[in-house]
Structures are given as structure tokens and as C-alpha cells.
């Protein structure tokens, strides 16, 4: 192309720019401004978003899902009002024997003082992150806890659990507890043996949430809401304790 002719070309604008092109541009921006600087120091573009999906190993790249159905959950964190309906639904559906710190999902709360003298109150739902590289599965001496090869959900084989509690110490999310009723460790399993086994498509905590905080689904299904939220370029996605390298399948965003 003759460079002198460039000025005669009509500007196409950015309105019709496909998201793939934008992502490539952002990636280029990262490379130019220097990945070694963390990619955020000099870049004038929304690099944190680009880095989140392209450079942050905790967020899966599109198509990198090793299971037949790869279930995950996205929490739209700022929608949560802490009503705890999800916790009640979980207890009822999965027959969680409450007491002695027994829960499969809970809501964490944080108060942050503001300059105005008031406090900002935030809620954060948490449950087993069904990690791709789960510390609990690695440490279990008897394979009592394992990744279901069909769904990627981490499940328990109660009869094999020796109650050593190493998985509890290993979990970055405090997602496990010892169930005295089961004589084994208990944990969230995305309702695999209750609702999913009955043909339902959603977990108890998802259907009970009045604020549509939790989005559950198959990350491999490109038409699913979770897929779209996770891969929408503008969405800033994060995970809890990415430093542990567990590659969780529960993601967080504000929407």
C-alpha cells in the first residue's frame, strides 16, 4: 500500500469494530507497553480487563475447559444484599446438618470506612470453587474427594474419607467442613446429586437468589449466560486467592 494514499481512505470508525479485533489491539497494547512492567503502568487502554482474560492465568482462556461439561459460577458481587436465601436453599436441598460451622455456601461481609465518615458494606457469596487444580484432591490420601470427570465438579466418596482434615487445611476458600452426620468431609457439589441429578439445570443457591447474583452453567456452552459474562471483553473478572494457583471455576465481577 502506498502510504500517500492512506490519507484518502475513509475512516471506518470504531463503532463496528468486532470484539476480537479490539482484544487483539489490547493485546498489542500490552506487548507494546511492556508485559514485564505488569502491563498496567504505561498503557492508556483498559489493560486490566485485557490482562484479566489474556495474561492472568487464573481466568481461563476461551475454549480451555478440560471437562465434558465444565460447570462454573460467576458471582455478580455488587448485586448481593446478604439476604442469605441462598444459604437456606442450600441447607434444605442438600440436607446440610447445621451447627459446628457446617455450611456449603455462605455470604461474607465487609465494612470499609469511607472518607465521608460513613461505611461501605459489601457482601460476597462464597462456596467451593471447584478448582481445576484442586489442592483438596491432591492431598486426600484415599481419593475420597475427586474431580468428576464428566462435569469437573469436586465430589466426595464418603465411605473413603478418613477424616484427616488435610483437605480442609488445603482449601483456600474454607469450603470444607467435617460432617458428623456423614462421618466424612462435606462440601458444595453444585447440587450434582440432588438438583442436577433430577434433571434441573440450576443449583439451589442460584434459583433462590432474588438479586440474580449467581450465574451457573457450562463454560463450554458458548450460548450460556456464564460463558458470555466470562468472555465479554468489558467485564472485569477476578477470582479469590489467585495466589494459590488452584485455578478456580467460581468467578467474580461487578455488574
Amino acid at each position: 500500500m502506498d502510504i500517500k494514499n492512506l490519507e484518502k481512505e475513509q475512516n471506518e470508525g470504531i463503532e463496528s469494530l468486532p470484539s476480537d479485533e479490539r482484544r487483539k489491539f489490547l493485546q498489542m497494547g500490552l506487548a507494546v507497553t511492556g508485559v514485564f512492567l505488569g502491563g498496567t503502568l504505561l498503557s492508556l487502554t483498559s489493560v486490566s480487563t485485557a490482562k484479566g482474560r489474556n495474561a492472568d492465568p487464573a481466568i481461563p482462556a476461551d475454549g480451555q475447559y478440560p471437562y465434558t461439561k465444565h460447570y462454573g459460577m460467576i458471582m455478580r458481587q455488587n448485586h448481593c444484599v446478604g439476604c442469605e436465601k441462598c444459604m437456606d436453599a442450600c441447607v434444605e436441598t442438600n440436607n446440610v446438618q447445621i451447627g459446628h460451622g457446617a455450611w456449603r455456601t455462605t455470604i461474607q461481609e465487609r465494612l470499609t470506612p469511607l472518607d465521608s465518615g460513613r461505611e461501605k458494606r459489601e457482601f460476597r457469596p462464597i462456596l467451593c470453587n471447584q478448582c481445576n487444580r484442586p489442592p483438596c484432591v491432591r492431598v486426600c490420601p484415599t481419593k475420597a474427594t475427586y474431580k468428576d470427570p464428566e462435569t469437573g465438579i469436586i465430589v466426595m466418596d464418603d465411605k473413603k474419607c478418613i477424616g484427616c482434615k488435610t483437605c480442609m487445611a488445603a482449601c483456600p476458600y474454607n469450603a470444607r467442613y467435617y460432617s458428623h452426620a456423614k462421618h466424612a468431609i462435606d462440601k458444595c457439589n453444585f447440587c450434582i446429586d440432588t438438583l442436577l441429578a433430577a434433571g434441573e439445570k440450576q443449583t439451589a443457591c442460584v434459583t433462590s437468589c432474588p438479586a440474580h447474583v449467581r450465574v451457573f452453567g457450562d463454560l463450554k456452552d458458548t450460548s450460556s449466560e456464564i460463558y458470555k459474562l466470562l468472555h465479554k471483553p468489558d467485564n472485569k473478572i477476578w477470582v479469590i486467592r489467585p495466589d494459590c494457583g488452584a485455578l478456580p471455576n467460581v468467578f467474580y465481577m461487578n455488574a
Partner: protein
């Protein structure tokens, strides 16, 4: 028939000097304490662990796991020193190595007894450790290797009694190798958990092995000192020389271990994650500071170091005192390590979590620990009474 042959063996090994009412009473008292202490722990199988132990969802381990680690590490140390003496001979410590093998078996038994009342379903472990092994699990390797080690040590000890030198050396060597790997895996149980930055990292398994050499040397001196004390006889020059060698080893490892402790803590204050630094602060200024400064550092490292510097390993009683203090310090070092890693909430800032979670061992947890100490005391006396003759040898194979 079997009874006759056992009687024959024991008649060749027993030390009749210890067939006294005093020793018998002591053995009975230790037996009662161990049954009561471990029995209180075993009550958890009936009333539930949550009813008797103060562990929680957030702090799933505590004093009992620390005690298990302490006995297991001490057993490893004793086994290694004994194996080195048996394998290479010629070392001054060889003369007391049979006693070290016996006490290594006893210490690992105390460790098994302790963890036996901590694990919620130990019967399941016996079945599924074999039927469904997870080869990526440090716990599986640790349990399996300690199991192999204790089996080999029992065979080794049988060889020592019967005078099968080669047999004893082979199984003693296998036992020592298994103990080293088991000890390494015990360190790995903690060191491979990124969720707990205070534990995570390559240093811990080496740190545990260093602790084994320290505890093993300290235990060697203490048990030999006590063995002569209860008989009311003087150590021979050769045994004194063995104690001097063990004292040298203890001093050297005491220095190495102190250096490792220093750097291990410093690392948390020059970078790394916030959780690791908060855990280290639990020891320096936080809820574990008394246990750390007074018991782990003061009693367990500084005072023994001062005793060694002043008395220059010349006095066995002083060395035994230093050894005892080191073992006390090592016990609390294990507790501090376990507790500091778990007292820090995993997601600070959320749920108005305190900087440090609340965990104080229950009285029954302490009873289990006293019970495990009684197991070791009882095992020591049984060993001296039944096998005393083979514990000190003038000449070694």
C-alpha cells in the same frame, strides 16, 4: 513352646537389676496415664471430635497434630543416628545404637497413638490407604513410609536380639531411608499447601529433617542418661564417649536449626504475601509470642546453647538437661508452626474476621499429649527392663 522360646530370649536380654517394685510401680503409673490420656482422646469417636477437641472448621488441626509431628520427627532422628552407627560402625554412638532403635520404635508408636485419636475414622484409613491410594498425597506417603519404617525397625530389633547382624543392618538401613522420606513427606504435608503461606515453600521439609537430627541427638543423650540414672550406676567411658559424640551432633544441629529458624521468619518480613507475615507476627508479637520466645527460643534453643557453651559437653547430666530442654522447645516449635499457619483467616478483611482466629487446646487435647508422653516413658522402662542387656554393648558388629 512359643512361650518357652520367648522366655529364653528374654532371659538373655532382660536386666534383672530393674526388677524392682519402684520400676514396676512406675510402669503401672505410666500405663494408667497413657490409657486414661489416650482413652479420653478416643472418647471422641463416641461423642464426636467437636465435643472434646477445640478444633474448628477454620482451625482443623492443632495440638494433637503438632504432637504427632514431634514424636514422628524424634523417631526419625533416633532411627537415622542408629542406622548410621550400625551401617558404618566405628562411630562412638554405635555402643548405644540398640537403645536408639528401640526408642525410635517407641516414639513412632506414640506418634501413631496420638494421630490415631485425632483422625476421625482411623479404621477407614487402614482399608482405603491400601484399596484407594492417592500417590500425589503427602499424607498417604507419610503414613505408608512410617508404616514401612516401623515394620523394618521391629525386624531390625529382632535381628539385634537374636544376633543376626547382617539382617539387622539391612532392615535398619531400609527403616532409616523410609523414615527420612516419611519425615520429608511430613514436612511436605504442610509445605505444599499454598493456602497457608506460612507453611508453603521448599524450606519446610529440610527444616523438619534438621529438627529430626536435633531431636534425635537430644533424645539419645536424655534416654541414655536416664537409663543409667534408674540403675544407679556410672556410665562406662565408652558410653560417656558416645554421649560426647551425640552432644557434638546436637550442638552442630542446634546451630544449624537456629540459623534456619532465624531466616525462615525473616523471609516473611521482606516481602511475600500478607497472610505469611501475619502468621509470622503471631509468633513475634501475637497470641503465640509466649510459646515462641519463652518456650521455643528461650527454653528450647538459647538455654541449651548457653549450657553447652559453659560446660563444653563434659558433664553428661548437663548435656541431658540441655537435651531435655531442646525436646521441650521442639515440642512447642511444632505447635507454634502448626498453630501460626492456621490462626490466620484465609480471607482477611471479610466477615469482620479478627486478625487471629481463636484456638486454645482443650483439656482433653492436653490429656492426649500427656498420654503420649506416658507411652514413651512406659516404652522406655519396658525396653530397659526387658532388653536392657543388649542396649549397651562393649563391642559392636
Amino acid at each position: 513352646m512359643a512361650n518357652n522360646s520367648l522366655t529364653k530370649i528374654f532371659s538373655q536380654t532382660e536386666d534383672t537389676r530393674l526388677a524392682t517394685p519402684g520400676i514396676n510401680w512406675a510402669m503401672l503409673i505410666f500405663l494408667i496415664i497413657s490409657i486414661v490420656g489416650l482413652g479420653l482422646g478416643a472418647s471422641s469417636f463416641i461423642v464426636g471430635h467437636e465435643a472434646v477437641y477445640n478444633n474448628t472448621r477454620e482451625v482443623p488441626w492443632g495440638l494433637i497434630i503438632a504432637t504427632y509431628a514431634f514424636w514422628a520427627i524424634t523417631s526419625t532422628g533416633l532411627c537415622i543416628y542408629a542406622a548410621i552407627s550400625h551401617l558404618f560402625g566405628g562411630t562412638r554412638m554405635a555402643i548405644v545404637s540398640n537403645r536408639m532403635v528401640w526408642m525410635s520404635i517407641i516414639c513412632i508408636m506414640a506418634a501413631f497413638a496420638t494421630i490415631g485419636v485425632e483422625i476421625a475414622s482411623p479404621h477407614t484409613m487402614i482399608i482405603y490407604n491400601i484399596l484407594s491410594p492417592n500417590l500425589t498425597s503427602n499424607i498417604w506417603w507419610m503414613g505408608t513410609l512410617y508404616g514401612i519404617a516401623v515394620g523394618c525397625m521391629i525386624l531390625e530389633f529382632f535381628g539385634l536380639i537374636k544376633g543376626f547382624a547382617r539382617f539387622a543392618v539391612v532392615f535398619g538401613t531400609i527403616a532409616a531411608i523410609a523414615e527420612v522420606f516419611a519425615n520429608s513427606c511430613l514436612g511436605g504435608v504442610f509445605a505444599t499447601l499454598p493456602a497457608k503461606p506460612f507453611w508453603y515453600g521448599g524450606q519446610l521439609p529440610i527444616y523438619f529433617l534438621t529438627a529430626a537430627f536435633l531431636s534425635g541427638a537430644a533424645a539419645t543423650i536424655l534416654f541414655n542418661y536416664l537409663a543409667y540414672k534408674i540403675r544407679g550406676v556410672e556410665m562406662s567411658a565408652a558410653v560417656k564417649s558416645a554421649m560426647h559424640s551425640a552432644g557434638k551432633a546436637m550442638t552442630l544441629v542446634l546451630i544449624l536449626y537456629s540459623v534456619a529458624t532465624f531466616w525462615r521468619l525473616i523471609m516473611f518480613f521482606v516481602g511475600g504475601t500478607e497472610l505469611g507475615r501475619i502468621a509470622a507476627e503471631a509468633l513475634i508479637t501475637g497470641p503465640l509470642s509466649f510459646f515462641f520466645w519463652f518456650l521455643e527460643i528461650g527454653i528450647g534453643l538459647l538455654i541449651p546453647m548457653i549450657l553447652i557453651i559453659i560446660f563444653r559437653l563434659q558433664n553428661v547430666a548437663i548435656m541431658a538437661t540441655a537435651g531435655f530442654l531442646i525436646l521441650v522447645g521442639q515440642f512447642f516449635a511444632r505447635y507454634n508452626m502448626v498453630a501460626a499457619g492456621l490462626l490466620v483467616p484465609g480471607t482477611p478483611g471479610w466477615d469482620n474476621a479478627p486478625t487471629y482466629l481463636d484456638y486454645v487446646p482443650s483439656l482433653i487435647e492436653w490429656a492426649v499429649i500427656v498420654g503420649s508422653i506416658a507411652v514413651v516413658c512406659l516404652g522406655f522402662l519396658i525396653g530397659e527392663r526387658v532388653f536392657g542387656k543388649i542396649f549397651d554393648q562393649k563391642e559392636h558388629h
